[in-house]
């Protein structure tokens, strides 16, 4: 199983080491041709404005959006969530626009309000999941085709829409690998289905 990691900027190394620990191969994605022969894609945390601009400059928006529309499993964390969203409050920044959600950037405030805490995420089992939020966004509103996996105080923090998974927090900054495992299971089941005819 080979997972691409968008490597323009941000927490690339952390995602890479979690995936490798779980036995997946990884590939850094810097240019459109890198998207060939991957089974899944991670959009890591970083600075969303900068990432959005680099995506445009290297003509990555349309190829990634097209792969996502064709069923490539994509997991976005923090900045990745913003890039996946169709709507971003008060922002015209570049995005992939794949998920039917509206997000608010820096929604908890500036760095001084960044925090970590334990949250209960039913799809990951009974044990609470330690979540780290850094100048984090959250989903303000999601269409009915979006499955909400974690919501707190009216803020949607983890959501799934078919092949897409998006978290407002940073699972790559903690030792708990359950969310990455959850994504790899998605990749595995998509792979079975996709092998019948598609290649990215």
């Amino acid at each position: 199983m080979k997972i691409g990691i968008l490597a323009l900027q941000g927490a690339v190394r952390e995602h890479r080491s979690v995936l490798q620990k779980l036995g997946a191969e990884t590939k850094d994605i810097l240019n459109p041709e890198d998207l060939q022969k991957i089974d899944g894609l991670i959009l890591p945390g970083g600075e969303s404005t900068a990432c959005g601009k680099l995506l445009v400059r290297y003509n990555l928006i349309e190829p990634i959006a097209e792969a996502g529309r064709s069923g490539l499993p994509i997991f976005g964390t923090c900045t990745g969530l913003i890039l996946l969203a169709k709507h971003i409050n008060n922002s015209s920044q570049y995005r992939l626009g794949l998920m039917d959600v509206r997000v608010e950037r820096n929604a908890f405030g500036r760095q001084i309000d960044s925090f970590e805490t334990d949250m209960s995420i039913p799809v990951l089992g009974d044990k609470p999941f330690h979540t780290v939020f850094i100048r984090a966004p959250y989903i303000v509103q999601a269409d009915s085709n979006v499955e909400i996996l974690l919501e707190y105080d009216g803020k949607i923090l983890l959501a799934e829409q078919n092949n897409l998974l998006a978290a407002a927090f940073h699972p790559e900054l903690t030792k708990d690998t359950r969310l990455h495992e959850y994504f790899l299971r998605k990749v595995k089941s998509a792979k079975k289905y996709l092998e019948r005819g598609r290649d990215f």
Partner: protein, 298 residues
């Protein structure tokens, strides 16, 4: 709904923001207009300050924390993180910056030091700090005080990258020494480097610094920035190099691209075309020892 216990200002949260800036460029700006140019060029953060290092060098006088009004203006102008500098050891400047909700404080040798014996105890703060270092011992002393990010000191305001190269090479060499040493030798190395023993053990275990390490001090061109990435830096600060050049918007964008693709030499060639003159700069070799900023702090 159960109420969750949010922990703010933790080591993970502070170091985590630095992790998110990796592979990016942080640019010195002196007003909201420059901050917007930097954000538009793809900077991952801006450093708000009153005078860029080359002006501080030229004009002399005491360099202090910036006017809070200017900092607030920049915070309102952009949505990327805003950093600002406090003088070495100046606890109150740092507290003022924290009260302004700044995202990161640079306890910086570019400003005139306020305390010749102590650096700020950064673990006391909820806001993360970045500090300059010339070698592993200095980096680990700052991390011991609570720095969440390290940068080379380089020689700010010169446009000469030689000192930044010297500092990252020294840090790398020291780390290699720790990695290849036996457990028995580590206390001796800690003593020699003047570094906290526990942090030497961490470096041994991780094979790298426990925090992100950026380049700073003298980066003036896209090739300079890519060189620092090649030498193992996680990202780049550019001070005077952008807004003291002929075409700041274009140069800023070119440096961002060179950092993201630091081994794509065709791309670096392409983005380096027609940038106009880089900052004029001055060779570090011709500076007097007392004119150097890197010697400030310990």
């Amino acid at each position: 709904m159960t109420v969750i216990e949010k922990e703010t200002g933790t080591v993970t949260v502070k170091r985590g923001l630095a992790e998110m800036l990796k592979g990016g460029v942080i640019m010195d700006v002196v007003n909201p207009e420059q901050a917007k140019i930097a954000e538009e060029a793809g900077a991952v953060a801006v450093m708000a300050l009153e005078r860029v290092p080359s002006d501080i060098r030229a004009q002399g006088g005491v360099a202090r924390m910036s006017d809070p009004e200017m900092i607030t203006g920049i915070q309102q102008a952009v949505s990327i993180p805003v950093m600002a500098k406090a003088r070495i050891g100046h606890i109150v400047e740092a507290r003022v910056l924290e009260a302004l909700n700044i995202d990161f404080i640079d306890e910086s040798e570019v400003l005139t030091p306020a305390d010749e014996s102590c650096h700020i105890l950064k673990t006391d703060f909820k806001v993360p700090f970045v500090c300059g270092a010339r070698n592993l011992g200095e980096a680990l002393r700052r991390i011991g005080e609570g720095a969440a990010m390290i940068r080379t000191k380089g020689e700010a305001g010169t446009g000469d990258v030689v000192e930044a190269v010297r500092h990252i090479r020294q840090v790398n060499e020291d780390i290699q020494r720790v990695i290849s040493a036996s457990q028995m030798e580590l206390m001796t190395i800690a003593k020699e480097l003047g570094a906290p023993y526990e942090l030497i053990l961490q470096v041994k275990e991780l094979g790298q610094l426990p925090v992100v390490n950026f380049a700073a001090g003298g980066v003036a061109t896209p090739a300079d920035a890519a060189l620092m990435m090649e030498l193992g830096c996680d990202g780049v600060f550019v001070g005077s190099g952008i807004f003291k050049s002929d075409n700041p918007a274009k140069r800023a964008k070119a440096i961002v691209e060179a950092v993201a693709h630091f081994r794509d030499y065709k791309l670096i060639a392409e983005v380096s075309k027609g940038l106009g003159d880089a900052m004029r700069g001055q060779s570090v070799a011709r500076l007097d020892e007392k004119e150097k900023m890197a010697g400030r702090g310990w």
